[in-house]
């Protein structure tokens, strides 16, 4: 946590020698506290003071990077227990388990499938983030890691308690920056050695929460800089308690020993139960959640939950402005206009879809605000709607020239007709009225 000016002042020499360029040590301390000056301007600061100040500037939960390139996953650096206090910063990674004893072709097929397990949420692509390759004793872990790394650019987690297997696999794919899982009390020194040799992030696992801080501290002392914690909870309840304890200790108690992101293996008797517990792990602080299924019917809800929980409460999700078809829209289908606030769009889309009347929705860029807010802020006006209709070439998609606008902004009709040259129909005030409105809509003339 950041130190106050007075706390910093106490660490300075307090001689007011002015060499830092400030009249007094206190003036310098005030600048430091506001991060407007850098400590190296004072030539007399002690090593202890330096360490204390640098330590205080470090985030309470370390950042860990797994993988390389644009698929690299960054987790950690979280600052709050509750979304509304700020936001959750680095979306939790979703990993799918793959056993290493599949033949090469199956491994590659599976890896490719996971890379392609993606969903489009109105312009946002969400999917699985990591492949967790689990070493099955007797299989060639190195060959399996190589095969998976060739077939997919998703970051890897290498899972084995056997240091020999881990060393072989890690050296084969070290340039992909996998997460090594895991150092335990039983294999600690050897696992640390492998992680250090390749400069890779390392997970440490304790059975239960009691020893996790000690184990993590030992890894830090041994020189591992990027650490992920696993407390191996046996039940959902233990998972919730462990996750809460670690996040609270790191943020509220400033316990640096546990200031690392966590990894959770979803527990549960059935895939559906595991998926539910995985959603709780997403909401309650996990850095990585590992699941052992890749059924899209179960993965889609999870990636959606992750997207929702990690939405910045200050910046609501926006829909990419443009024109969207709902159902098999044709050149005779109605055209509705709305804003790009995700909730507004999804509500309108849901109601249009419920009407079973294929339609077009023109989404105007209103900086993520709802209809009435956007209208009040002059983001949803005759001008912005006309611009959207022209920019997205709505005229090229339909033969008629009729726009349906939300009832709440009926006042825009006249000006919009003049500016756009389209006829304007005023739709219902509430989105729920859309199905009835569309059903009673006469055929639109070309």
């Amino acid at each position: 946590m950041a130190l106050t000016a007075i706390e910093i002042y106490k660490l300075l020499p307090q001689t007011n020698c002015r060499e830092c360029g400030f009249p007094t040590c206190l003036a310098f301390a005030m600048q430091l506290a506001q991060k407007k000056a850098s400590l190296d301007k004072c030539p007399y600061v002690s090593e202890d003071a330096k360490a204390a100040l640098e330590g205080s500037a470090a985030p309470p939960i370390n950042l860990v990077t797994i993988g390389v390139g644009d698929k690299a996953l960054k987790i950690g650096n979280e600052t709050v227990l509750f979304r509304h206090e700020e936001t959750f910063h680095h979306p939790c990674g979703l990993a799918v388990l793959v056993p290493s004893d599949l033949d090469e072709a199956s491994l590659k097929q599976k890896a490719t499938r996971l890379s392609e397990l993606q969903f489009d949420r109105v312009g946002m692509i969400v999917g699985v983030d990591l492949i967790a390759l689990q070493h099955v004793p007797g299989s060639d872990f190195r060959a399996a890691a190589t095969a998976v790394a060739q077939a997919s650019n998703l970051p890897l987690i290498l899972i084995s308690d056997d240091p020999a297997a881990m060393a072989a696999a890690a050296s084969a794919v070290a340039d992909k920056r996998p997460l090594l899982y895991a150092a335990t009390a039983g294999n600690f020194d050897e696992m640390v050695k492998i992680a250090k040799e390749h400069g890779l992030p390392l997970a440490v696992r304790s059975e239960g929460i009691a020893n996790i801080a000690d184990l993590a501290a030992k890894a830090t002392a041994a020189g591992v800089s990027e650490i992920v914690l696993d407390t191996a909870p046996k039940t959902p309840k233990d998972m919730l308690l462990h996750q809460t304890a670690i996040r609270r200790a790191a943020l509220l108690k400033k316990n640096r020993q546990v200031g690392h992101p966590t990894i959770v293996f979803a527990v549960g008797d059935t895939p559906a139960a595991k998926a539910l517990n995985a959603s709780v792990a997403i909401a309650k602080y996990a850095g990585i959640v590992v699941i052992d299924f890749d059924d899209p019917a179960l993965v889609l809800p999870l990636v959606t939950a992750r997207l929702n929980i990690y939405t910045d409460p200050e910046k609501p999700i926006q829909v990419q402005p443009g024109v969207y078809a709902v159902g098999a829209a044709t050149e005779e289908s109605p055209v509705l206009v709305t804003t790009n606030f995700s909730l507004t769009y999804f509500t309108v889309e849901g109601d249009v879809s419920a009407s079973k009347i294929p339609s077009w929705i023109v989404v105007v860029d209103t900086k993520g605000t709802s209809v009435l807010t956007a209208w009040a802020a002059e983001e949803f006006t005759a001008e912005t709607i006309t611009k959207a209709v022209n920019d997205y070439d709505v005229a090229g998609r339909v033969k008629h020239r009729t726009l349906i606008i939300p009832g709440g902004v009926a006042v825009l009709s006249g000006k919009l007709e003049d500016l756009s040259g389209w006829k304007v129909l005023v739709g219902p005030r509430e989105s729920a009225g859309i199905p009835a409105f569309l059903k009673s809509l006469p055929k639109l003339a070309a």
Binding site: F82, R83, H84, F119, R121, G208, I209, A210, N211, I212, A213, D214, K234, T235, P236, K237, D238, L240, L241, T244, A245, R248, A249, L252, K253, V258, A272, A273, A275, L276, N277, S279, V280, A283, K284, D295, P296, A297, L298, V299, L300, P301, L302, T304, A305, L307, N308, I309, T311, P313, S342, L343, F346, T347, E349, G350, S353, A354
Partner: protein, 326 residues
């Protein structure tokens, strides 16, 4: 050195509210449900009491749904149009803790059934099941105000939850609830200040805080779940911080919201990339509910029995003791 569980010291707690009344209490319910009372965040029983588990209310409509997707028709199709049989099926087959009866047919656009007809439906459902009832109006303010005197009277002394009182329409429902011994559900549009305001208005009319349940208009997974999640979390934190006007237990409407999502609605033929529709639809509803559980909801109003079963199991697993002694 063993790692210590960091504990918070909370000043307040959620109110405890009892729903339903047995014969000894002047009603006819064979069982009652008590919710609330938590003196900590959801399931964190190591630092505060969690005397009552969250419960699931099954929603029953007094009109046969015309647009429900197949998995729901499979579960309830045989009792559509017969709310008493529907409620009975929920209790006997699906082990509902409560029934949430929605008097849709009263809406001027949906049949405009009379207060007497609605009262009759309520009586039939009360006779058909022994669990407590949540009774929801049709959503049209004027009509609901006509409805409540007769409907509330038909269930007098049964200690039902009546929903809902909103900022600009709370008087009739509150007066009826007080006269007939019911609990009032106060509603707000995802706004913690409005929620508090409605609670103040309703209590100023004389409704006791222990006779109030709060409801924020809910959003489903993928469709605003994060707003509701955070509003509920903030509300629970306010209660734990000692804000008496935000200390009522919370209710979430999950079923109707989750099944609006196209991920739950679209059949496989139209969305093959999303996997089996049954599985994803069930999980869509269950996961929406699961997130609300962990934000602090006490009553989940749900639709599909399998989603409800999954969530009930989850409630049990998070309410169980930790396997590690501290």
């Amino acid at each position: 050195m063993s790692f210590e569980m960091p504990k918070e010291k909370w000043r307040g707690a959620v109110n405890q509210v009892k729903i339903g009344a047995t014969a000894a209490e002047g009603g006819t319910r064979s069982s009652t449900v008590t919710v609330g009372g938590e003196a900590t965040l959801p399931f964190l029983d190591f630092e505060g009491d969690t005397p009552n588990r969250p419960v699931i209310a099954f929603e029953v409509l007094d009109l046969a749904p015309t647009d429900w997707p197949e998995p729901l028709v499979e579960a309830y199709g045989d009792v559509f149009g017969d709310p008493a049989a529907w409620a009975q099926k929920c209790v006997e087959q699906y082990e509902a803790d409560l029934i949430c009866l929605r008097l849709q047919s009263a809406h001027p656009d949906r049949g405009d059934s009379s207060p007497a007809q609605c009262a009759e439906t309520v009586k039939k459902v009360l006779q058909a099941v022994g669990v407590p009832l949540i009774i929801w109006g049709c959503g049209d303010n004027e009509k609901d105000n006509n409805l409540w005197p007769e409907v509330s009277q038909a269930a007098a002394r049964e200690r039902c939850c009546l929903g809902s009182a909103v900022q600009d329409n709370y008087k009739t429902i509150s007066a009826c609830a007080m006269a007939d011994g019911h609990v009032v559900i106060t509603e707000a549009p995802l706004d913690i200040n409005i929620q508090k305001q409605v609670n103040i208005l309703v209590t100023e009319m004389g409704v006791k805080p222990e006779d109030i349940i709060m409801y924020q208009v809910t959003g489903a997974l993928g469709y605003g779940v994060e707003y509701a999640y955070t509003i509920m979390e903030r509300t629970r934190l306010a209660a734990l911080g000692g804000d008496k006007m935000l200390s009522m237990p919370m209710l979430a409407i999950v079923g109707s919201e989750a099944w609006r999502a196209k991920e739950a609605r679209l059949p496989e033929e139209e969305s093959p990339q999303w996997g089996r529709r049954y599985d994803r639809a069930i999980l869509w509803e269950a996961m929406t509910a699961e997130l609300f559980l962990h934000a602090g909801t006490d009553i989940l109003v749900m639709w599909h029995p399998e989603a409800a079963r999954l969530v009930k199991e989850s409630v049990l697993s998070y309410s169980a003791a930790s396997t590690e002694s501290e």
